[in-house]
Symmetry: C3
Subunit: 335 residues, 3 copies
């Protein structure tokens, strides 16, 4: 009883976070029919700033620190990404009115990772003074890429079977390459490289780090506006997508939280790292995932997977998921 | 005599303000045929930053303070907005070569408020250490919306009479709703809401507030470039628009200054607040006003009202009006 | 021997600079096929920020200081710009497969100046605490405009001879006017004017100066992406352009370094100023030069001159030239 009320208090306290308010504010404005728009160039620049900042910090940390500790969490990230896709493929495809290729694409997007959701959680932990290893955001591609590859492989297997053809050749390396070439992962990896080989401390401290929170608030507002606008697309497809999109983020986050806890016990993975791992698992890709899937599974309906992810999955992970994992960590790790 | 020279000295001192220099610099560049352009996405982002900053500050202030003191100034703001439209409708329409619906639309734009002009005045007062209640910028919609509504009502009445039809139904609530949905008021009100219900102090102090002055300088430059470019449009319409646009801002500002002085005597409304009220009254809407009027009074000629406002009204209010009200306040309130 | 190893050490040390890493990182991403793009509006805004910052600082410095010391360096800048064009015209046109009007346009672009390259060098010197007179960046137009004018005059003379016509009239004043009206020089000169006549210290210290390095890193990344993309255009023209573009920047830089050294001996021109003069001479115009040349020498092939400049000339000047001049200055001036 004490634990429950403690949990609820912690959970409610998290809802005061400005990042969440900007997201909800954007949804509110869109719902009320506001004409406010953040120009696309600004949105793209916000995303670039966040990823470059996360990358630079990760790179500088790896340069100064030890990267071996990343091994187990990276493995957990990859396993979680694949698990999400497999479970999603089976569960979603079994629901009435859901086509199998749409189900696979949706599961792929939920297995992939949203950099902006990750950034929200990082800012929150930093503001609360909760420590996490600076290489944790670098776990992103370890979850993102396997999930996208597995989804595309499953889709090709399904389509080949449906056409009574032999199994089509799936170019795994081409998918890896396309994922790494996507604008989100490119920026993140370039930031890490620059952090590793150069000395970007000054530009990091004077530009990328101080502007991080501000651009994140602009990004959250944009995502809120977008989430509401996409809701219409979701209405065109089976309602089961909405159910999946509302429940899956929390389930995925809790699975990753559990696996992260194992890493905490085995190798001392930080509680902050466990929270971020859960946030990544609960998130669904909003920048590079959709175009990758559109190219690789052209038969799937974008209204199904983008609608589920942008208009329900992401808000749920940010508004419910992040406070949930933080509150849970507060009790589990007694912080 | 002493008062006059004191006034002139104060007035000239204000002309050194960088915001004014950027505005005049933009006009100079455009006049010399410079190809410099500020991308539209950047312009829109500057406007968003200013409004969000003003809104956040207002919201945080109302959360921490007392909003009852707003009542009388809000009433004065609404009365001033309507007065400007009524006087403008009568005076402008009486001038030779001026069509009545163009006159009403122009008067509506001059009754509405320019957020960027307001921001210039706020920065100036802050730099000079002149106090104003942080809710003063929140008076904006109280002047803006009634002025736009009254102008649209007057235009419909005029058009109905002209067509010998019965009075057309004017959807007042639709106009209020459209005004609130405009990008400028949306951003301002969202900022206030977030300031009220959340704790955006960190993002305000690290992002919106420190970048405010800089983005304002970029905005002033853009407005200067635009002001000169619009001058050509103004040449296409009756020259009386130029006379109105040059004199009306100062007259409107002085009316609001007088009414604000009454509020100062009655309820202790701050001298800084009186200056800002005068600046708002002297300004004409440059962001959300023109599209609202274009939609609601399609028969009016945009060259007339946008040309008057952007190329003469706004520069006059900023370059002459603001220094005038500051110098006047210096003498009237002995600050 | 000691001098050589000292030089090499200094040279290698410069390669750690983040600005260079962002440039190389952009080239690497483009080479690997990354889809990362910096929106055009952001690129233009970065350029504007840099030029306004450089201009404001120059203007404030001239206001506070003495501008007479500029005379000799300004003369050297103009002479260097013209020398580059004359030598380039003779050398390039003598190479096999190179058309004379393409040669002249390319030489003109290499005689003109790149503001972003200049900004990289300024940040580097500031980080290392190497002093330079704040009016040094204001030497920019003294090298840029004569070079462009001379190139256009030479092209017209050549085309007139080829057509067996009498010498065409070359509108020198029109070229000067067009150069000054270009977006780059407009922003720089407006910044200087505002720095001179107004008091922009606050907006400079809170906005333009602290954001300078950050926006420069974004600009370098964009230029790196662009440099690689332009490489394809260069492949379409004679390979001698690549040879010229690789060697000319260093030769031009060393000529300017030598002339700057004379000014150092005669009038005490600072070592930092000599370095910046060399960087300017080594740079080729990337913003306002190409459209000016395209308009004035329409018969020249843009693939030749833009390809040479953007994809080889600029990276060489930044990655090899700047460290070279800094290392050289370290030895020559014993700093």
């Amino acid at each position: 009883m004490d634990i429950l009320s403690d949990f609820l208090l912690r959970f409610l306290g998290q809802l005061q976070s400005p990042a969440l308010t900007f997201l909800l504010g954007g949804m509110l404005l869109a719902a009320l029919g506001s004409k406010l728009q953040i120009p696309d160039a600004i949105y793209k620049f916000c995303v670039f700033m966040l990823l470059m900042r996360i990358g630079l910090e990760g790179g500088m940390e790896i340069r100064n620190g030890d990267a071996l500790a990343m091994l187990l969490p990276a493995l957990i990230a990859a396993v979680t990404g694949c698990l999400i896709v497999l479970v999603g493929r089976v569960v979603l495809a079994a629901l009435p009115g859901v086509r199998a290729d749409d189900a696979i694409a949706t599961a792929g997007l939920f297995g992939a990772v949203s950099a902006s959701t990750l950034a929200v959680a990082m800012v929150l932990l930093e503001e609360q003074g909760t420590f996490f290893e600076a290489w944790v955001p670098a776990l992103y591609p370890f979850m993102d890429i396997p999930a996208l590859i597995l989804a595309i492989v499953l889709a090709n297997v399904y389509l080949a079977k449906k056409d009574h053809n032999e199994r089509k050749h799936v170019a795994v390396w081409a998918i890896v390459r396309d994922s790494l070439r996507g604008s989100a992962l490119s920026a993140l990896l370039l930031g890490m490289l620059i952090g590793l080989v150069s000395q970007p401390e000054l530009v990091y401290e004077q530009f990328y780090d101080p502007l991080f929170k501000g651009f994140l608030s602009v990004l959250m507002l944009t995502m809120g506006l977008e989430a509401w606008a996409r809701m219409n697309e979701l209405r065109k497809v089976a309602h089961w997508y909405a159910v999946y999109a509302a429940l899956a983020p929390l389930l995925h986050g809790l699975i990753a939280f559990g696996l992260g806890y194992v890493a905490h016990v085995l190798t001392g993975f930080s509680p902050g790292g466990v929270i971020l791992l859960a946030v990544m698992a609960g998130s669904s890709s909003d920048i590079s995932g959709p175009p990758t899937l559109r190219g690789a599974i052209p038969s799937a309906n974008p209204s199904a997977y983008i609608g589920s992810s942008t208009s329900i999955g992401t808000p749920i992970d940010i508004v419910v998921g992040i406070p949930l994992y933080v509150a849970l960590a507060g009790i589990v790790f007694d912080i």
